[in-house]
């Protein structure tokens, strides 16, 4: 792209979405940001060797939450749609893989596209009618959808009813059998990197801007020629796909899934990661996911009190930083 003097540079626009939040002050040049990203990735890459198996399992779970929170962030943070049943899409992905691999003997990789399509279809079916309505109807409908999916899974034969599906085969990738905890750690790390990249690119696109326009002022956005239903539906479906992919890898990681993994509580945890970290801010959302997963682990010594302490901590964070942990920044 040729930039004539006075024409807006791409970096100037990219500085806005506060995708980097307050870090734009600290990491004010692209070079510094690249250094920061490489440093974080290096630490993440050697983490399993340093911390041992137990922490690796927890970090893997945190990465899974980060992926799901990034997906939910597109729905809640970018498009401003309150989704209380996000675990449903997580379940759609997990059960697609579980059923197709155990009942029909499919290869894991072949089931992935099915999981994605199933989540997208579910997203259109639920979002299509409800996204036409304004305000918080969506919250109620998604809440109901989440419960319907869970209860359906509990009662169908093919989903293994209450005991769920077990014995899901762990996948092979070009001769690499992904079995050990550190194997899965690296798979989830790679997925998280892709999830971040996709989020950043979407945020800085025509569609990403349209989400913000619609979130800020639906009428003004529509007066600018933006079909708000279509734009919201895109956010909802993309969020659903994130959830489904997360669920698919979750299923092969644990090799067993059951309805209780997809409860309303799970949905609220994902939502908490997004809100806690700071809606719409990618590093904030990742941080939120890590806090939600690691917080209770660090407090393990407190026994059954840990959830109480953790809850009080969350309340304090929301009281003093209602915009999320991550600094807002970026605004001049």
């Amino acid at each position: 792209m040729a930039l004539e003097p006075g024409s807006p540079g791409p970096q100037a626009v990219e500085a806005r979405p506060s995708a980097w939040g307050g870090l734009t002050v600290l990491l004010d040049t692209p070079a510094k940001r690249v250094v920061a990203i490489v440093a974080i990735l290096l630490v993440m890459a050697v983490a399993p060797q340093i911390f041992g198996a137990y922490i690796t399992v927890i970090l893997t779970n945190a990465l899974l939450y980060a992926i799901l929170a990034l997906g939910l962030n597109i729905v809640v943070g970018y498009a401003g749609l309150l989704d209380l049943g996000y675990a449903a899409f997580f379940a759609v992905g997990a059960y697609s893989v579980g059923i197709l691999t155990t009942e029909f003997g499919w290869n894991f990789w072949a089931t992935l596209p099915v999981a994605v399509v199933a989540a997208a279809v579910a997203g259109v079916v639920i979002g299509g009618p409800t996204l036409r309505l304004r305000s918080d109807y969506l919250a109620i409908v998604t809440l109901g959808f989440g419960e319907i999916v869970r209860i359906t899974a509990r009662n169908l034969q093919i989903t293994g009813a209450a005991s769920g599906i077990s014995g899901i085969d762990q996948p092979w990738l070009y001769g690499w059998h992904i079995v050990s905890q550190s194997d899965f750690y690296y798979v989830f790390l790679a997925l998280a990197v892709v999830a971040v990249l996709v989020s950043v690119r979407l945020a800085n696109s025509r569609l990403g801007r349209a989400w913000l326009y619609v979130r800020h002022d639906e009428d003004a956005a529509e007066a600018m020629g933006i079909d708000r239903v279509r734009v919201k539906l895109a956010a909802y479906v993309i969020g659903a796909i994130y959830g489904s992919i997360g669920g698919a890898f979750f299923a092969v990681n644990l090799t067993a899934i059951s309805p209780q993994s997809f409860s309303f509580q799970q949905s609220t945890l994902f939502l908490m990661a997004v809100i806690l970290g700071g809606m719409g801010k990618i590093p904030g959302v990742i941080l939120g996911a890590f806090v939600v997963v690691l917080g209770p682990e660090f407090l393990r010594d407190l026994g059954s009190f840990r959830y109480l302490v953790f809850a009080v901590g969350l309340l304090l964070i929301m009281l003093f930083r209602p915009g999320g942990i991550w600094p807002a920044g970026g605004r001049r």
Binding site: L197, S205, R209, M224
Partner: protein
């Protein structure tokens, strides 16, 4: 043939008649004003034209096609852009991004091309930015303001950004809802020049609602007067100024100040 033609348009809310058999036209490349006392139904008429309200009867024909069944975004795509009575820029977004929103309906790249950064997507992004920059320059917003949060701009500049944003949709007709409200004398003069340039340099017809009758009489080729949802007069500024029904409508309202200006 008229660019915009309203025929016997009627709008009511729960038995309250807001617009009654309104018939009205805007010729291509002209500046037309809609005046009337507060509560006469002027903004409601704008909302009917742009698809935000659904009138019970009548028709709105723009550029040869019926607009009445269309949603607001489809009306904008058809070539009618608008501004709002209270400035409604997208807060927490830059001036440039605000104006880029106007190009949304003229572009098409979706999620997949954005994720893959396809060459076509990058070209389109560059084009969106170029159009937005051109519109900002046209309304006279200097580029040191382009990356500021739109809501931090001086009020008069926010109004101009809103016009730039509407122009970025490449309209054939621009609806301005009280564009001079809250502007200083100097800014009003600049607005008059800007509206003329929009008509002459961009061949965009302008329909405006305005309370400043002095400004209306200066720039309009035709003026229509709405009172209690009824179109009571239509003509050149001179005809309107000497129309007894218009003066009566204004004197009977709280808008006596406007009547004196007539």
């Amino acid at each position: 043939m008229a660019l915009l033609e309203l025929n016997a348009l009627s709008l009511g809310f729960a038995g309250n008649r807001v617009l009654n058999d309104v018939t009205f036209a805007v010729a291509p490349g002209s500046v037309v004003s809609l005046i009337g006392p507060n509560g006469a139904g002027k903004t409601s008429l704008f909302n009917c034209i742009t698809g935000f309200y659904k009138p019970q009867r009548g028709s709105v024909v723009f550029d040869g096609s019926e607009m009445l069944r269309l949603k607001p975004w489809q009306v904008t795509r058809a070539g009618i852009a608008r501004t709002f009575q209270n400035v409604r820029l997208f807060r927490q977004m830059s001036v440039l991004e605000n104006v880029m929103s106007g190009q949304h309906c003229r572009t098409s790249m979706g999620a997949i091309s954005a994720v893959l950064r396809l060459p076509a997507q990058r070209r389109e992004e560059a084009k969106i930015r170029e159009v937005a920059a051109e519109c900002l320059r046209f309304v006279g917003i200097a580029n040191d303001e382009w990356h500021r949060d739109a809501s931090t701009l001086a009020y008069g500049h926010q109004r101009r950004v809103e016009i730039a944003r509407a122009l970025a949709t490449n309209p054939k007709l621009l609806l301005l809802d009280e564009p001079a409200a809250g502007l200083t004398k100097g800014e009003k003069d600049e607005l008059v020049t800007l509206i003329r340039r929009i008509r002459d340099e961009r061949q965009v017809a302008v329909l405006l609602i305005e309370h400043d009758t002095g400004l209306v009489m200066t720039i309009s080729e035709r003026v229509s007067v709405l009172d209690h949802g009824v179109m009571i007069a239509e003509g050149t500024p001179r005809e309107i100024q000497s129309n007894p029904r218009v003066i009566e409508a204004y004197l009977g309202s709280e808008d006596a100040e406007a009547a004196l200006a007539l």
